[in-house]
């Protein structure tokens, strides 16, 4: 019993250490913009301007004293429009905020036109001040006439991407090529993250739900070492990769190895990874704020091939990913440690019996998986943007890719990622933008039905 006790105590301190390391690594970032409720719009970098007017009879009259609630990203204030029918709301940072006007306080006989909704989400980019949220009221009778005659227009929350898609629909050829290009790049980035998930599963049996946070960590480190500590972009990517590897190593040393020693079963381990994911993700939110972080980059097109326009960030992300993936494939196929990794992933007991040091292989897999995820996050931050939950957002796409390719196989993860990356982007031609992940998830479920072991998996793996 005393040894178990000591082990338990040690595991607890290790967990605390792991979280502490994440904390200290993250502390280099500036804390999120300080906020008090409500934030003075004069000093805030971002603000929303809410305007409520009565347009039922000209001239338009301001509507004073209407309560407006602005919420989102952990921020929530309720203010009232002033005598001029306007109120400016200072924001804690950029992001998407829900603006809700209390229509019940508007004088009776007035209504919003059917195209305007009392609740809408307003997107505020970094440094945008007085982003408008207009509420122009008309008389209730006018509104009814309007509803009867005009076709319903999309609400304020309508999807811009969808709208522009519809305009171009019909010109399939012009849209399939850019979709294939972005899908391929996204698939390559996904592959970097997926290999770690697949190899960790293969060597330890753990479905790591906290892998998204390794990706986010890499992206946040890339942000830290370009925007806070000004380093050149290529160096920041290397630093993010190295720190990602360190994060993976520390996680294994401080948390997963002690748990393996305690012989915690796989399902509890999976639940531990969910708890870790939740804790680390929201720690990122505290340290880096709830908004989207932008890395300095050149958005002008570097290469134009017909309808495909790629920026230098796109091209370099793709090239780096391809080079690294080829390197990993070569390492797995030709080196001693690569062969040992595949052997452990294939059959752990047999590998151990043949004299392979399983624990050290697992440690290398965690470190390499963390480094690859960190690189994926850094490239993703350049390719798109990064925020506290970017990794969690693509976690299910990673799982879909790994399941599709065959759990536990590194090459399968690569193939599955490319398929999922293409699938997500090509399906967006027909589907509304918010459903593009849905297509990938449904594809995963269908694959599980038809061929549960995945494209490259072996049948005996599904048990």
């Amino acid at each position: 019993m005393p040894t178990t006790r000591r082990r338990l105590a040690r595991a607890a301190t290790m967990i605390a250490a792991a979280v502490g390391v994440a904390l200290t690594l993250g502390l280099t970032a500036s804390p999120a913009a300080a906020a008090s409720t409500p934030i003075d719009p004069a000093t805030a970098k971002e603000s929303i301007l809410v305007v409520a007017r009565d347009n039922s009879t000209p001239p338009a009259k301001p509507l004073p004293g209407i309560p407006v609630q602005v919420s989102g990203n952990g921020f929530d204030v309720t203010v009232s429009t002033g005598a001029d029918g306007r109120v400016e709301v200072g924001l804690p940072g950029p992001g998407t905020f829900d603006v809700k006007l209390d229509v019940s306080k508007v004088p009776s006989g007035l209504a919003l036109p059917s195209a305007l909704k009392p609740e809408r989400s307003v997107e505020v980019d970094t440094g945008n001040k007085q982003v408008l949220a207009n509420y122009i009221f008309i008389s209730a009778t006018q509104q009814q006439q309007q509803q009867a005659t005009s076709t319903p227009s999309p609400g304020a929350t309508a999807d811009h991407e969808k709208a522009s898609d519809e305009k171009q629909s019909g010109d399939f050829g012009r849209r399939i090529w850019p979709a294939l290009a972005t899908g391929l790049i996204f698939g390559l980035l996904l592959a970097l993250a997926s290999i770690g998930v697949s190899l960790i599963y293969g060597t330890t049996g753990l479905n790591n739900f906290a892998h998204g946070e390794l990706v986010t960590f890499g992206g946040l480190m890339a942000y830290t070492f370009t925007s806070i500590v000004p380093l050149p972009g290529w160096l920041a990517i290397i630093v993010a990769t190295v720190l990602g590897g360190a994060f993976g190593f520390v996680q294994d040393l401080g948390l997963w190895r002690p748990l393996r020693r305690m012989r915690v079963a796989l399902i509890p381990l999976m639940i531990v990874s969910i708890g870790l994911s939740l804790a680390v993700r929201y720690l990122f939110q505290i340290l880096y704020g709830p908004g989207t972080l932008l890395l300095p980059q050149d958005s002008s097109a570097a290469i134009n091939i017909g309808p495909v326009h790629l920026t230098s960030a796109d091209v370099s992300a793709a090239i780096i990913a391809i080079v690294v993936l080829l390197g990993v494939a070569w390492l797995l196929g030709n080196t001693r440690i690569g062969k040992a990794t595949r052997a452990v992933a294939d059959n752990r007991s047999l590998a151990a019996a043949s004299g392979i040091d399983v624990e050290s292989v697992i440690r290398i897999v965690w470190t390499a998986g963390g480094a690859l995820a960190g690189l994926a996050g850094a490239l993703l931050a350049y390719y798109q943007t990064i925020q506290w939950d970017s990794g969690a957002q693509i976690l299910l796409a990673i799982f879909a890719a790994v399941t599709l390719g065959g759990l536990g196989t590194a090459y399968g993860a690569l193939v599955g990622s490319l398929v999922i990356g293409l699938f997500i982007n090509v399906s967006a031609i027909w589907l509304p933008a918010n459903l593009k992940f849905v297509a990938a998830l449904i594809a995963m479920i269908v694959i599980l039905l038809v061929r549960p072991q995945g494209i490259l998996g072996k049948k005996d793996r599904i048990g």
Binding site: G275, Y282, Q285, L396, I445
Partner: protein
């Protein structure tokens, strides 16, 4: 000025509709995981499906209350079939990925602009409670419990909610003492042994998935009656909250998830309050925006510690708490 009002408000968390909703849904989850051993990480999806069936039929098609409830139960059952038929034959960890994916599919799909006429898009649905409040026998006045004034509608949903919790607990308790309960517990312990006794394991798992899903749906209905239906309230974090609640009380017990829900919301409320105080007195260097995420970090760490050090929860028996696989 320090704001200590959270202290008396915490007592009201004990009976709040949110506590009731999570108690019912966590009880459903314990039918899935605690008793049958199914790794359902999509309980939020069951809640969401039931809530949408209830709210859409009530507000868009004007169904009476009983018909809306029936529609919600049918919706949850259909979702269980849809989810269970392809995946219940697979290994447990596949089920976890598929259920979490299915819940996210629901959450994304209901927010599609094309479906806004039915689902209200990302704004969700208001006003589904009208039919329920029409049956309210409580006279219209202010009821004060502790420091909180309640309307007669609040009291009505709280009373109905707790009656529902009691009935559900009784039902699950009796069910698990019945031959059916012994078989699903057998499936949890050793699926192949039960199969070798000639039982149709697959059918029993599907039945357990339906029963637990229906409990989740009932929870969701209680949740949306005093507020409104918001699609983003049924994301993965809701499922993780439910797992924490279930493991806190004890996954293999009937009272565990209910007491777990009470403790969970009381502790979260207290921690939110104390962190606010600590930040206001500058003991913790956190701005107002930074205080919100702290509760999720607490839940995450609590989940890890629970699974590692006390997998049987507060009320569970150690011998039932070993996880298979």
């Amino acid at each position: 000025m320090l704001d200590w009002t959270f202290l008396p408000l915490t007592l009201n968390q004990i009976i709040s509709p949110q506590t009731i909703a999570f108690a019912l849904a966590a009880l459903g989850l314990s039918v899935h995981f605690g008793f049958t051993g199914l790794l359902n990480f999509g309980q939020a999806g069951f809640m969401s499906v039931g809530a949408y069936f209830f709210a859409i039929t009530a507000t868009r098609f004007g169904f009476p209350l009983w018909a809306s409830i029936l529609a919600a139960l049918i919706g949850a059952t259909a979702f269980a079939f849809l989810l269970g038929i392809p995946t219940l034959r697979l290994r447990a960890d596949y089920l976890s990925i598929v259920t979490i994916a299915a819940a996210e599919i629901i959450r994304y799909t209901v927010q599609t602009p094309d479906l806004t006429a039915f689902t209200g898009g990302s704004d969700g649905i208001n006003g589904a409670e009208a039919g329920f409040e029409k049956l309210n026998p409580f006279p219209d006045r202010v009821y004060k419990i502790g420091v909180v004034p309640y309307t007669n509608d609040d009291i009505w949903v709280i009373v109905v909610g707790w009656v529902l919790v009691a009935l559900a607990a009784l039902f699950v308790w009796q069910l698990m003492r019945s031959p059916w309960g012994r078989i699903v517990k057998g499936i949890r312990e050793d699926e192949d042994a039960v199969r070798s006794l000639g039982k149709n394991v697959y059918a029993f798992k599907l039945q357990a998935l339906i029963i637990g899903g229906i409990l989740g749906t009932l929870g969701a209905i209680i949740n949306i009656i005093p507020t409104s239906l918001q699609p983003n309230n049924y994301g993965t974090q809701t499922t993780f909250f439910l797992w924490t609640i279930m493991l806190l009380g004890g996954a293999t017990t009937v009272l565990g998830p209910i007491i777990g829900s009470i403790i969970f919301w009381v502790v979260l409320n207290l921690s939110d309050g104390f962190i606010g105080i600590l930040a206001a007195t500058h003991v913790l260097p956190l701005s107002q925006v930074q205080q919100g995420p702290v509760r999720f970090i607490i839940v995450g760490i609590a989940l890890m510690l629970l699974v590692i050090f006390r997998p049987q929860g507060i009320f569970g028996k150690k011998k039932e708490a070993h996880f298979s696989v």
